[in-house]
Amino acid sequence: MKKNVTIKVNGADRRAAVEPRLLLVHFLREVAGLTGTHVGCETSLCGACTVLLDGRAVKSCTVLAVQADGRKVTTVEGLADGDKLHPIQEGFWEEHGLQCGFCTPGMIMCSHDLLEHHPNPSDSEIRAGINGNLCRCTGYQHIVAAVRNASKKMSKRATARAGAR
């Protein structure tokens, strides 16, 4: 039997009647039409499908859409402010934190969880923070540099905001 759900995706309510077995990642891609969230392994191992559920990184291939009912989901599409990229996206751009880009949305969303909770991580904390995300291209070096770049930008902006108050 289908179940009605309302999931706030990137600030907008998405309503649908879904089969209980529908995974959140498929809700996002097929019901909400947001294909920025990728499906890699489908077995909870690669992190490509990472999104934020109520602000915390989760593997959306390992959450049922019905479990996100009434909750907030943020995908990579929800980060930029119009044409202005999010500092994490800028970091990946500036440091060439990707090659094929398949792992990138998951890397970015997982880094988001990390930087929200640990604003100035060391390199080893960055590596630990994204150790559930696999990249088959970059060797991780540039990804770590991208997250470090983003953390500097975000803390600079936070200091500037605090100074302006």
Binding site: P20, R21, L23, K59, T62, L64, Q67, D113, N131, G132
Partner: protein
């Protein structure tokens, strides 16, 4: 990869969840963090007809300090324990929570689900076995409190009746002079350890007054290395005593050869992990703040 179709039920209280289980019968399963169950359902190793979702039950995720014990709500996520200053008062609990898989899994997976799953490679059972731990089980007719050693019966098998659930996990604070450590060896974050060792001891100066040693991933359940404990109890922890404990731990292990390593390899590994965990536990017992992390291949 889709699970087989099932009916979804959302419980609004733990009592209601138990009532749903009684009514729906054997084909119903509880859903907590879903980090064991959903992967199994996608692989069609588990095919429940009904899922009773506990995630919408309020007040099931908490860490309370009460009467010399820490009480964890069944749905307390690994990440909440990892980030809790209260839980860190028993350092081995932080070692465990912070080392489970990756942040995404820790944000979802729960302590209650982990014990109920009784995965032979699960971390919580190994660590909690070194402490005085009780599992509160809520049934349709009564609530009972089961010591962890009686709760886990076998691989993937617990003392829970079909219509019972874990409501709370209670861990007694260890006495003064105690220290503990948990160290696992892993090939990467999102996989279970190859082997692991949990040590909780009480020191009186340089003499080990008491000690509990548990081994993970080297048997159908966590294994208590009783002879390894005996090698240390009442002794100064000298190199000789350490070697004896390592040797006894290796002998107590009963590993299976699989993709993570051969029987001999795992035996050798678990001995080395026991040694490291004893060393950290001792330093902590002497009041030192020691950060430990798992060892990656």
């Amino acid at each position: 990869m889709y699970p087989r179709a099932f009916h979804y039920h959302r419980a609004s209280s733990l009592k209601e969840a138990v009532a749903m289980l009684s009514q729906l019968g054997d084909d119903a399963k509880l859903l907590a963090g879903g980090q064991s169950l959903i992967p199994l359902m996608k692989l069609r190793f588990a095919n429940p007809q009904h899922l009773v979702d506990l995630n919408f039950v309020p007040g099931t995720s908490y860490i309370k300090e009460e009467g010399g014990a820490l009480r964890f709500g069944a749905l307390t996520r690994h990440a909440e324990i990892e980030n809790s200053a209260t839980a860190a008062k028993i350092p081995i609990l932080h070692d465990c929570a912070a080392g489970i898989a990756d942040v995404q899994v820790r944000n979802r997976g729960t302590i209650g689900g982990s014990l109920a799953e009784a995965d032979p490679s699960g971390d919580w059972a190994v660590v909690l076995m070194t402490l005085s731990t009780e599992v509160c089980c809520l049934g349709a007719k009564k609530t009972r409190t089961v010591p962890l050693s009686d709760f886990i019966k076998d691989a993937y098998t617990t003392a829970l009746a079909h219509d019972e659930l874990v409501s709370e996990v209670v861990v007694k604070a260890p006495p003064k002079g105690s220290g503990g450590a948990y160290i696992a060896f892993k090939r990467s974050a999102p996989v279970y350890p190859t082997a692991s060792a949990a040590v909780q001891l009480i020191m009186d100066g340089d003499v080990c007054k008491d000690v509990v040693i548990a081994l993970g991933c080297v048997g159908l359940t966590a294994i208590k290395a009783k002879d390894a404990e005996a090698a240390l109890r009442g002794q100064r922890i000298t190199d000789k005593a350490l070697s004896a404990a390592m040797e006894a731990a290796r002998a107590a292990a009963d590993p299976q050869s699989d993709m993570r390593g051969s029987t001999d390899y795992k035996r050798a590994l678990v001995g080395a992990l026991v040694k490291r965990a004893i060393e950290v536990a001792m330093r902590r017992a002497h009041g030192e703040q020691v950060e430990v992390g798992h060892i990656y291949a």
